[in-house]
Symmetry: C2
Subunit: 247 residues, 2 copies
């Protein structure tokens, strides 16, 4: 990889990309993950590359869901591991959630490398390697989960999730918190809480809200959850893409 | 890479992605190229994944420019080589254009592999390997071009070009024909003829127009070029992204 000139007008953006490319070198991010990163970049560009007030509200609701859950799980794929490994560990600590590795293109080697990478960033228990349960309605490797992890979870944070899996998890009755920069994607449309934001901004924001809400009563948390209007959140994001200032 | 289930709702899209991933395996497409592919996918999705009438008009104007040119050159990078190698060769044959390999992340190995790949698809002469001239105003490897290729060209087709290079080429006074799915990108904004379309559809369309216009007089070709309104073409694409039916 050639060095990026300091005077390149998109220097920061390119450096971020290189971080996810480093994930490829480490066997963490897949080639499909690189393409997904590009799609996200385009939507983030259209959204203005900042957390909108609506997204911030959804991040607070996601924090309330995680705190209310009996068994919350944070699902981690290759891009999530490459971009926000420490941030995921911090969110798991604040909310008491499990961390489970779950890949669209599952190989044992990538599973192991991602689990190791999360442990390097402070994770104590990383699920997903047992793969002793199956999500109904999915074919191939994508159905595999841990019986005491995602399979048993009541609330699942699925950042950057494939549409098929998002739908199948929702059909299992799980409360899905989805981080996805495309508000029209099936994942976002399926979610109980669609968070239309860059994962680099979203995960720390959820952690911050969870920290602030840690002493809230369950009634207060339930009220935050009840007041959330997922349709309005999706509409707001789509309107921003349609009518935002593109320059 | 796991097999894609036939029942996957985005089967075709995933197969297309795998084609560009094959380019990575062959040392043709860079990791940055995969991310760029993802950005393109997002914009193509917003545009409806079809050639708009405005884009088709721009493709006809591009064909006229190539036929009028004294020294037209088609610039090829890793994604172009992976996605449309035979189509580029066909366009070069119809218009008498040179083909020159030009990479954002230039290495001699990738240059050689892409040139070989184009020759495998019928290219007779592939420029870009001499790199004996320099585009003013660019640092590093990105400035290198062939003295008897892009450096000397009057009309250059630059599909999927980096914004810096597009601006630098325009400052050299070249007529730039840009294929870019983001109408707000600097490349598209810089172009004499911005073609907001998927390269898989755009290159064959330009070839088709060039074939149809082969017997047109220079006056007819000049009229087609003169009637083109680049601002209106960019506005139409942006309006479609803003107001298109997203579903």
């Amino acid at each position: 990889m050639a060095e990026i000139p300091d005077d390149h007008p998109r220097h920061d953006s390119l450096v971020t990309r290189h971080r996810i490319e480093a994930g490829v070198e480490q066997g963490i991010t897949s080639k499909q993950g690189l393409i997904a990163q590009g799609r996200g970049e385009a939507f983030d560009y259209l959204l203005g590359e900042e957390t909108t007030p609506t997204a911030d509200g959804a991040e607070r609701v996601a924090a309330a869901h995680l705190l209310l859950a009996d068994h919350p799980v944070l699902s981690v794929n290759g891009n999530v591991a490459a971009l926000v490994p420490g941030e995921i560990v911090a969110l798991a600590e604040v909310t008491g959630a499990d961390i489970e590795v779950n890949l669209f293109n599952r190989t044992e080697q990538r599973m192991q490398r991602i689990a190791d990478h999360l442990r390097d960033h402070g994770a104590e228990d990383v699920k997903g390697l047992n793969a002793d349960a199956t999500i109904p309605g999915l074919s191939h490797e994508r159905a595999k989960v841990d019986g005491d992890g995602i399979y048993a979870a009541d609330v699942v944070l699925v950042p950057l999730e494939d549409g098929d899996r998002a739908e199948a998890l929702a059909e299992m009755g799980k409360t899905e918190l989805v981080v996805d920069l495309n508000p029209m994607s099936r994942s976002a449309q399926t979610a109980a809480v669609p968070i239309v934001d860059n994962i680099i901004r979203a995960i720390p924001a959820i952690t911050e809200h969870a920290t602030a809400l840690r002493d809230a009563s369950r009634d207060e948390l339930r009220q935050i959850v009840a007041e959330f209007d997922r349709g309005a959140a999706l509409d707001a994001a789509e309107q921003r893409i349609r009518n935002g200032d593109f320059e």
